[in-house]
């Protein structure tokens, strides 16, 4: 249609972006290469040793079926703590995430500290969290639940805050336009858009909590952690695989229930 000169000029930002991307790719490659060098990455070694991996897998079969009944009680106890830990973690995470999201409150004075708090929570290692709670409340389920609340908050808070920042701004505008204050804006513009993700993250965190057996074991809260320890301590891999299978079943059931619930509700 028109001469090709404007074309050339106009495709140049396109090319510019390409160059930028090429540079980023090269940078990433360089970082990967250095990391590989640092850790001694070697495909040939992996290939050579791969057959050994099966030794362990073989030992896990067949699972120790008789062990199933023994671990039902601790699994239930773990679930119990995970339910509480996740619920309160999620309840605390949501407001924090809303405060941290830059598109809802739009006040750096609040966003920045909230984000900082979220970061801090996530940095505290489980073990330290457990040590502190045990020091205060002694060993037992309560300290376990508190520790779980701590890291559910970390997980959910971070993830949900990022998805809040990614929501469609249109409905937010509509709510601002009808004169909604921040809370109403959140209730009608933000929440409906992120509930699906919020549920997904909470469930994920629930799952993590069920598996956070090690930490629960640390605080003497019972749960499945001690059984893992014991089975591994005796190199009893058949029992280890039994515990894994049991956990898998629990996770799948929970997944199934939650998906069908979600479908019913929406």
């Amino acid at each position: 249609m028109s001469p090709s000169s404007p074309n050339q000029k106009n495709t140049s930002p396109y090319r510019q972006k390409k160059t930028k991307q090429t540079f980023s790719a090269l940078l990433i490659l360089a970082i990967l290469w250095y990391s590989g060098h640092n850790v001694g990455f070697s495909f040939s070694e992996l290939q050579k040793g791969a057959p050994n991996m099966w030794d362990l897998v073989k030992e896990m079969f067949p699972p120790d079926w008789a062990y199933f009944t023994r671990i039902t009680e601790p699994i239930l106890e773990t679930i119990r703590m995970a339910v509480l830990g996740t619920t309160f973690g999620a309840l605390l995470a949501m407001p924090l995430a809303l405060l941290a999201a830059r598109n809802v409150l739009r006040t750096p004075l609040i966003n920045v500290p909230a984000r900082w708090l979220l970061n801090l929570i996530r940095t505290i290692p489980d073990l330290l969290l457990a040590a502190i709670f045990v020091a205060i409340f002694g060993i037992g389920a309560f300290s376990g639940v508190l520790a779980l609340i701590g890291f559910s908050m970390g997980i959910i808070g971070k993830l949900i805050y990022e998805s809040i920042e990614g929501i469609d701004e249109g409905p937010l505008e509509a709510m601002r336009a009808v004169g909604a204050n921040q809370v109403k804006l959140v209730m009608f513009g933000v929440i409906p858009q992120v509930t699906a993700q919020f549920l997904s993250f909470s469930l994920y965190s629930f799952e993590v909590n069920v598996r956070a057996a090690a930490v629960l074991g640390l605080v003497g809260a019972g749960g499945i952690g001690l059984y893992y320890d014991q089975a591994l301590g005796f190199f009893d891999y058949a029992r280890v695989s039994t515990i894994i299978l049991y956990t898998l079943i629990v996770v799948l059931i929970i997944d199934f229930i939650s998906t069908s619930l979600r479908e019913k509700l929406s």
């Binding site: 040793g49 020091a135 060993i139 074991g217 640390l218 003497g220 001690l226 320890d229 301590g233 005796f234």
Partner: protein, 293 residues
């Protein structure tokens, strides 16, 4: 296998292949639980051993003896530092053969301070609060007892044997509480979560900085019999000459002044003595004695 029967002189020519000859020595170290300071350092030992053995040595530090045993079972590690119970289990799996044991200073029974003697064993203790009214093992009946995991020699096996000897079932006559960490056991005792705790001697040192009056507030109810110290074990099918070489190297390190300073600082070891599997019969016996299932 305590005698050195290998032919040291036949370096060249057709040497009988007595086993596997390492070209590079891979050592993994798991700190024993019965220490009150630990450093996650590999380099010092690496340097000391390289100097002694003239082959490249890599040392890694791990927090879990499962990894050493599995790595040794698939010949990814040549030498492992294993706690006694773990060694027995590894030996059963054909993954390890003990050649040395670590030495430490003994612990003063009165105040938990170190003694002058180097020993290759340690003890474990059952500890209660001073004003608890528990005066003998029999008094523990019906009380809450803090143990470590059932694979722990000092935190479960030996103390449980003490209870058995006194006519108590360690799992049903007391209310067992499994704790993770000997420090945790002491703290749970202090804050009343348990009435008595089984720990190594003297685990109270670990918590003195957090709780300075721990020695005044608690007392030892009973000591156990000696428990063999940590082992240094090698792959069973290693060439005998090499087993000897490694044995000699560790002993030499323990005897040299620099070496000793380093192993003391980093691993709280004072030296190494030769050892063999027979010394661990007691461990097997104890394991058998307290076996639950």
């Amino acid at each position: 296998p305590e005698e050195n029967t290998g032919s040291d002189e036949n370096d060249n020519g057709t040497e009988e292949a007595t086993g596997y000859v390492p070209e590079e020595l891979r050592v993994q170290f798991v700190p024993s639980q019965n220490a009150d300071t630990l450093e996650a350092k590999a380099k010092p030992l690496e340097d000391l051993l390289t100097a002694e053995l003239d082959i490249p040595v890599t040392v890694s530090v791990s927090t879990d003896y499962n990894t050493i045993v599995e790595a040794m079972a698939s010949e990814q590690v040549d030498v492992g530092f294993l706690p006694p119970t773990a060694y027995v289990l590894a030996e059963e799996r054909g993954a390890a053969e003990v050649i040395l044991q670590a030495q430490r200073y003994g612990v003063n029974d009165e105040d938990g301070s170190p003694t002058e003697d180097l020993v290759d064993f340690y003890k474990s203790q059952i500890i209660v609060k001073k004003d608890s009214g528990i005066e003998s093992i029999e008094d523990l009946k019906g009380k809450k007892m803090g143990y470590q995991s059932v694979t722990s020699s000092a935190g479960y096996v030996w103390p449980a044997a003490v209870l058995i000897d006194a006519g108590l079932d360690p799992l049903t006559d007391v209310e067992p509480v499994t704790l993770k960490g000997h420090d945790q056991a002491i703290i749970s005792l202090l804050n009343g979560d348990v009435d008595a705790a089984a720990t190594f001697q003297d685990a109270r040192n670990v918590v003195t900085s957090d709780y300075p009056s721990v020695f005044e507030d608690t007392e030892i109810l009973e000591f156990t019999e000696p428990i063999p110290n940590d082992t240094i074990a090698v792959l069973p099918d290693m060439d005998q000459e090499w087993k000897d070489k490694i044995q000699a190297a560790f002993i030499a390190i323990g005897e040299s002044e620099d070496g000793r300073a380093i192993i003391k600082d980093v691993y709280t070891h004072e030296g190494y003595v030769k050892s063999d599997d027979s010394k661990f019969e007691t461990v097997r016996e104890y394991n058998e004695k307290v076996k639950t299932e």
